[in-house]
Amino acid sequence: MTNNSTSRPRVALFVTCMVDTLHPGVGTAAADLLERHGVDVIFPEKQTCCGQPAYNAGYRKDARALARHFIDVFWPLVDEGRIDAVVAPSGSCVAMVKRQYPVLFETQDEEYRMRAVQLGEVTFELTQYMVDFLGICDTGAGFSGKVAYHPCCHLLRELRIDAQPRRLLASLREAEIVELPGADECCGFGGLFALKNAEISTAMGRRKADNLKASEANLVVMNDVSCMTHLNGILEHEGHACRAVHIAELLNRRDEGDGG
Amino acid sequence: MTYDPAEARRAILDRLRGALSGPRPVFRDRSHLSGAPGTPSAVTGADGDRRSLAEQFGVQLEEIYGTYEILEDATEARARLVQLVTDWSTEEDAEVLSWASRALPIENLGESLEESGISLFVPEDLHDESTRARAARARIGLTGADAAFASTGSIVVASGRGKSRAASLLPLRHLVLVPMSRIYPTFEAWLHTLRQEQGLGSYLRVSGQIVFITGPSKSADIELNLTLGVHGPRVVHALIYDDAW
């Protein structure tokens, strides 16, 4: 990349609350990937949570408060022209901002609804941003083993993002991409659903685990740490060897001989 | 609490009008709202000359477990009909539950079947108990088709004078005479023609009932095992013939 500093894309990273507290490595990988491809990354430290857990559980007031906070953190950066995009390593949280924020402020607060719409227009999921905006098809990463891709529901059906992560995975060195039966079926996480309807949630997760076993994958890759956490919980509990990983971490793996 | 029909009617309509004209939108998702929609377009197409439409009709009917033959003209269809009924009438109850001869698309069909020793049972009133019992015994039903559709293998039968509903419903085998002139490419083309020509509304209202029939009666209720002839006919056999001259 030979971009001079004025034309380098500037991105605010929204890592999401689950990455922040449970899987910070995913955030680091996302930042690495963006920076290595010529992006100026900033991390607004006041960020917390997009409010999706409260929203999906029916707590609109609480969700609205968190959404306001999110907008207060990110919208001024966009408004003042300090960033070109907000990027998050999550389909679900991006869908929350793009699809649900306008609903949340629909009849409540026109000013915030407008800001939500403006912010939604420049908020992207990591792999979508990498492929569609940065034109990356290959990150130079490799993995020796069988890899299955699980399209997370909100990524696939709210944001319609599917080709981008698959394209990036296809470039993995040495990896064999295997077909996952019932790939686009929900893993059973569903936010608070995983607790409120725990037995149904784990039944759905076990079905996904069985399909993973049938696919003989060593790794199952996805774009949301929420589904990943749930699936790893199931896989570990059921004694499967396969593990779920976030796509950013896999794409950020450097070849051993890389020397860098 | 007594039921006052007029009051119930008014209350429902008032409530609906209130909801629809109130300040609160009736739909959550307003992204799909538009003005009055146009006439729906055909879901699946079919085209070609009458011969080709006849063949497509037959192929579609076969796909859903019906059977068909394409015959040159009414005379050939008549002969084939006599033969089929003779072949199928091995049991003692050899009666054919049929539309009245004048309602069938081939002229004097009843008479020529009688000449071949086949008697048509054309019931007068199915609410009469002995008539109903006799109709229920028939193994073969014979009807015409008011319209047929190449894209789906469906036929339309309309109830009316001499056109019993039972003939296409009660027997295990349904023989249907399909003149090529009545085969339309699609439902939509037929509805369009009716609307243009004679008024779709009056067509639907003249008959007590019109029925689209698409192959034999079937069910998959028992663990998705397909079974034919659940309540209606197990066999639907179409005799398609060219009625152009």
């Binding site: 507290t21 430290e45 707590y59 725990a198 | 007590g208 028992i222």
Partner: protein, 469 residues
């Protein structure tokens, strides 16, 4: 172990998940239906099909009162008797009155969810009227003494072995698991019912306002039997079933067929525009149409009109990963299950609370929205209903407290970080904390990271600055 549809939600779910036979049957059946649907949809221009079907339904709901009046006028003009019923009690009263006036002893019924909704069979039987369900699947559940578990395939929860049991038990026929023989037995049994019934009752798939026509969709032919053979025919139509024209009805018929079973069209589509005409051989002497509200106008008042667009194809049920695990009876005493059931059931209740668990019985995966032929945004409706339940205090206290604490803390960075640290410390106490204990029952617990991303980032920025300077 069967599911008791009258038990509390948690019990129903537990019973359902423990019923391996049912889950095996559901798995096979829903998988098969999904495949058939996918094939049928691949043949056509799906986008246009859904746009048109959605537009036709939305138009009908927006013009509901006018279309209903037009329908009524045309039905009467066609010789029908039209009755309006605000609720189940009024509808049942009308049916019983018609039955009494005609000295009806036997009723043959075609499958109809709206009659399940109002509890028609019980009401008829209590008045000493014999009522027989004539749809094969519905006949089987009636014999088994169960409610239907799917709006289209009422006996989808039973395997052929289970059905064989029911038949040999109740019909006095030799035990057989051959579907053809089972079906033949049902044909014999029900044929007689059709011939003796004094009254036929059906639901209504579409009511055409322009011509005054009631449309009934079946594959078996029972819809034709009940509308043709008995002296009296009663159609019960939810008021939302009205459509503008025959063209619209034919479009929706095709939409329902392709999405329900993957057929181009169902075997039969009966369009009844009144009693038999003078000189007709057969057909009912009287035709009654009951236009039933039973909560539908309230759905519009509450702004959930999207739910009234439904054409009951069942596609959302067949793709639902939750339905696949628990089946229809787990949704309780309601004929409507799956995603659309989780929306309609609480909405049809006077008090949304009666079915407050149902809107939460979804992982919001969105598969239902993608298949709906009239483009109902089901996840949106589920989310909105959840917020109603919460606003009315219908969520558990512990959950309210937890969410309030979380969202209060997460509104500001400092308390948020403190809360995250606290969560990390609490991990060893997982067995004592209800949510973590619930999680742990079928899943291993995740580990909280030693250091948050925020901390890693600060270090990274420092290193960078050190490195470049």
């Amino acid at each position: 172990m069967a599911v008791d549809a009258g038990a509390p939600y948690a019990t129903r779910v537990r019973q359902a998940l423990a019923d391996d036979g049912m889950r095996a049957a559901l798995d096979r059946a829903t998988g098969h239906l999904r495949e058939r649907r996918d094939r049928a949809i691949a043949e056509i221009d799906e986008r246009r099909f859904r746009d048109e079907a959605g537009a036709v339904r939305r138009y009908a709901i927006q013009h509901l009162p006018d279309l209903l009046e037009q329908l009524e006028g045309n039905l009467i003009g066609n010789g029908c008797q039209v009755h309006w019923a605000r609720d189940a009690a009024e509808a049942l009263g009308v049916v019983l009155d018609i039955a009494r006036e005609n000295r009806v002893g036997d009723v043959a019924k075609s499958k109809s969810m709206v009659t399940e909704e109002i509890g028609l069979n019980d009401a008829l039987e209590r008045s000493g009227i014999n009522v027989v369900e004539t749809d094969l699947g519905e006949f089987i559940v009636q014999l088994a003494g169960e409610p239907p578990s799917h709006i289209l395939a009422p006996v989808i929860h039973k395997r052929v072995e289970d059905i064989a049991e029911v038949f040999s038990d109740k019909l006095d026929i030799p035990h057989t698991t051959d579907p053809v023989e089972l079906c033949a037995a049902a044909r014999r049994e029900l044929r007689n019912e059709f011939l003796v019934a004094d009254m036929g009752i059906s639901g209504c798939n579409f009511a055409i306002a322009e011509t005054g026509t009631i449309c009934v969709v079946t594959n078996e032919g029972n819809g034709r039997m009940v509308t043709s053979l008995p002296r009296v025919y009663v159609a019960i139509a939810g008021i939302e079933k009205v459509v503008r024209s025959a063209e619209d009805a034919v479009l929706l018929w095709q939409a329902a067929s392709r999405n329900a079973t993957g057929q181009k069209v169902s075997v039969y589509f009966s369009m009844s525009s009144g009693p038999r005409r003078r000189g007709d051989t057969d057909g009912p002497e009287e035709m009654h149409v009951i236009l039933l509200d039973n909560g539908r106008s309230r759905i519009l008042e509450r702004g959930y009109g999207d739910a009234t667009l439904c054409i009951r194809c069942g596609a959302c049920i067949d793709v639902c990963p939750v339905y696949r695990e628990i089946g229809g009876h787990a949704y309780g005493r309601t004929p409507y299950s799956g995603p659309i059931g989780a929306v309609l059931t609480p909405l049809l209740d006077y008090d949304i609370h009666g079915a407050r668990d149902l809107p939460f019985a979804s992982s919001l995966c969105g598969a239902c929205r993608d298949v709906c032929p009239v483009k109902i945004d089901l996840p949106r409706l589920l989310l909105d209903l959840r917020s109603v339940v919460v606003e009315r205090g219908g969520s558990p206290m512990s959950e309210r407290v937890a969410i309030r604490a979380y969202s209060t803390a997460a509104r500001r960075p400092v308390p948020y970080r403190a809360l995250a640290r606290l969560a990390g410390w609490l991990r060893p106490l997982a067995g004592l904390l209800p949510p973590l204990a619930t999680w742990k029952r079928g899943r291993s617990l995740p580990r909280f990271a030693a250091r948050r991303f925020g901390a890693l980032w600060r270090e990274r920025v420092r290193d960078d600055e050190g490195g470049t300077e």
